[in-house]
């Protein structure tokens, strides 16, 4: 194990990417992810890598498309309005089956919104985002250490399944400083025989997302769907916290919101409530397996920094078995420990099946 270093979340994304063998970053300035490009602008030259500030988010994601197609680990990062601009390129990357890491350090929308933290891009991240039938692999960290772990995992899963992966975090975690341990992780070597980087000694390759014959295009879609089914089966990840056989109230929250909810749950349980937490780590695939064995749960309580987006996935997986309650704040406002605690206590007092 290496020694711990104190780092900001945004900077940790950059260092984790370098440790994962990424030497190609293409981005465009936007708050609250600004420390990440600044960090990599300094670090990439030190490790012989490429840092390039594009003329737009469109250019940056298409530079990632080109770099990834040529066989290298490549990434971009942005915050919500910028990620909207990247959607065209992301859809093309899924269609062309190209790996990459895309980071969204979320801020509040819609529109220009504000630079304070939010989780309101959950729909965009997990339900496709651009045109066509597709999903990104979406991982949501809740600590700076987990940022490091999940950045590496995003690269690995993305290379394995040939699909872009998104690290979905928010302005609060991006700005937060915590000690992290980079350990002794070594990225594995991945063969990319499909890459376009000169056809010496092989047949020429081509990369595209167009299949003009509809039957061929349908075959391509079926292939992608098969891959998404495989990812759904193999890559569900979540954390269970204070969750045991007699838990009655199940809180579901991800990322920053889960950290805050933990404090509320600890306080509620201290005064006799039976509250536990499921924290989805993979937002897509949504960890439906986490909800299979919760027989004594009487109430589910979803907390988000949004109007209720992950809420819909929880409602689908609970499927009417017990009531699903929600509390959220928007616009860059963050639910407090006290607010969540108050809601939990209200729920604990209310009759079952209400």
């Amino acid at each position: 194990m290496g020694k711990k270093v104190l780092m900001k979340g945004n900077e940790a994304i950059g260092e984790a990417a370098i440790s994962a063998g990424c030497r190609h970053f293409f981005g465009y300035p936007i708050t609250p992810q600004s420390e990440l490009p600044a960090y990599l602008a300094k670090r990439m030259p030190e490790v012989g890598g490429v840092f390039l500030q594009g003329e737009s988010e469109l250019a940056a994601i298409n530079m990632v498309y080109g770099a990834s197609a040529s066989g290298v680990r490549a990434m971009t990062s942005s915050s919500s309005p910028g990620v909207s601009l990247k959607q065209e390129g992301i859809s093309y990357m899924v269609g062309a089956e190209l790996p990459a890491l895309i980071c969204n350090v979320m801020r509040a929308g819609p529109g220009l919104g504000t630079i304070q933290p939010s989780q309101s891009d959950y729909f965009q991240a997990t339900k496709g985002g651009g045109h066509g039938d597709y999903h990104l692999i979406v991982l949501a960290p809740s600590s700076v250490q987990e940022i490091v772990d999940l950045v590496r995992l995003c690269f690995d899963l993305s290379d394995k399944y040939l699909n872009p992966a998104m690290l979905l975090t928010d302005g609060m975690l991006g700005q937060l400083m915590e000690p992290v341990d980079f350990g002794d992780y070594k990225p594995g070597h991945v063969e990319k025989p499909w890459a376009v980087n000169g056809c010496k000694g092989r047949k020429n390759n081509f990369i595209t997302s167009i299949y003009i014959q509809p039957d061929r295009m349908e075959q391509h879609n079926l292939k992608l769907q098969k891959k998404f089914a495989e990812i759904t089966e193999n890559e569900q990840r979540w954390e269970e916290w204070e969750l045991n056989e007699d838990t009655e109230i199940l809180v579901v929250a991800h990322g920053t919101m889960a950290r805050i909810a933990k404090s509320s749950i600890k306080e509620a349980n201290r005064s006799g409530a039976k509250v536990g937490l499921i924290r989805p780590i993979s937002l897509w695939p949504f960890p439906v397996k986490a909800f299979q064995k919760l027989r004594k749960i009487q109430k589910v309580f979803v907390v988000e920094m949004s109007a209720g987006q992950m809420l819909e996935d929880v409602q689908i997986v609970i499927n009417g078995r017990v009531p699903v309650h929600f509390f959220g704040r928007m616009g860059g406002m963050v639910p407090t420990v006290e607010q969540i605690l108050e809601k939990i206590r209200e729920l604990a007092r209310s009759p079952v099946n209400a």
Binding site: H24, F26, V50, L52, G54, E55, S56, L58, A59, A60, N62, M63, V64, Y65, G66, A67, S68, A69, S70, G71, V72, A74, E88, G89, Y92, A96, V196, N197, G198, C199, K200, G201, N204, N205, F206, I207, T208, S209, I210, I212
Partner: protein, 255 residues
């Protein structure tokens, strides 16, 4: 018997799917001949656009990638920055390069990306059936300018070589045409220069090639060649707009 003429290695076996009289086929061949002559086929990556040449990757015999509409220079940047040893070029039409991809081409040029851009200007959107392009001439009729392009309603056609030649990162910019054999020879020389410059590690290179679209212009292939010569060349004069080598020579001669 001695073989004196053959298909370039850089072209594949697939028949071109372009319309009769379209000059994309000539331009493809000129690129393929050039890459063969420079012996760089095996380290070339071509970027095809959205437009009639979206399937260019089917015709070339080297690595190719299709880009989103207008984004080819950004895609080429990503490839070249990851693999500086590769010879990277984009093949773009007028809608792709001079409308939706204006930001990408201007910034690739101003960054001095060491890529080659083949810009095919036929003053119309061919693949979508003949709409106004950024290079459609004033009074030219298209599906979306049925009464002719008017400066008041649609503004003026863009002269790309002139525009890009103002940028410091542009090393070489030349406009050529392929409407007759003499000009095809000149076009080949320009393409060769634009690729040789890249092999030598020089900055951004662009060759603009005036091209015909008999299908969407609604005239015969032969008349299309005349139309190009009589209408396009006066507005889009042929010639070298930027050549940093020439400037160096001038400086050397003056000193």
């Amino acid at each position: 018997m001695k073989k004196v003429f053959e298909k370039p290695k850089s072209l594949g076996d697939k028949h071109f799917s372009y319309c009769p009289g379209c000059t994309h086929g000539i331009i493809h061949r000129l690129i393929a001949e050039t890459l063969d002559e420079l012996d760089v086929r095996e380290r070339t990556v071509g970027v095809s656009p959205v437009g009639c040449s979206v399937f260019a990757y089917e015709f070339f015999n080297f690595d190719m990638i299709g880009a989103a509409h207008g984004r080819a220079p950004a895609v080429a940047t990503g490839i070249k920055r990851s693999h500086p040893e590769c010879i990277v070029f984009t093949y773009q039409g007028d809608g792709d390069l001079a409308a939706i991809g204006t930001a990408e081409i201007v910034h690739a040029a101003t960054r001095g990306e060491k890529i080659t851009v083949i810009f095919v200007n036929n003053a119309i959107y061919g693949m979508t059936g003949g709409q106004m392009a950024p290079t459609t001439l004033l009074n030219q009729k298209t599906d979306t300018t049925p009464y002719g392009r008017s400066a008041e309603a649609n503004g003026y056609p863009i002269r790309v070589c002139e525009l890009l030649s103002t940028l410091e990162g542009t090393y070489f910019a030349q406009r050529v045409s392929v409407h007759n054999p003499a000009n095809v020879v000149k076009a080949k020389q320009a393409i060769r220069k634009a690729f040789t410059n890249q092999v030598e590690g020089k900055d951004f290179n662009i060759v603009e090639i005036l091209s015909t679209c008999p299908s969407c212009w609604g005239i015969s292939p032969l008349k299309a060649l005349d139309w190009l010569s009589e209408n396009m060349i006066p507005y889009y004069p042929l010639g070298v707009y930027k050549d940093k080598d020439a400037k160096k020579e001038e400086v050397a001669a003056a000193s």
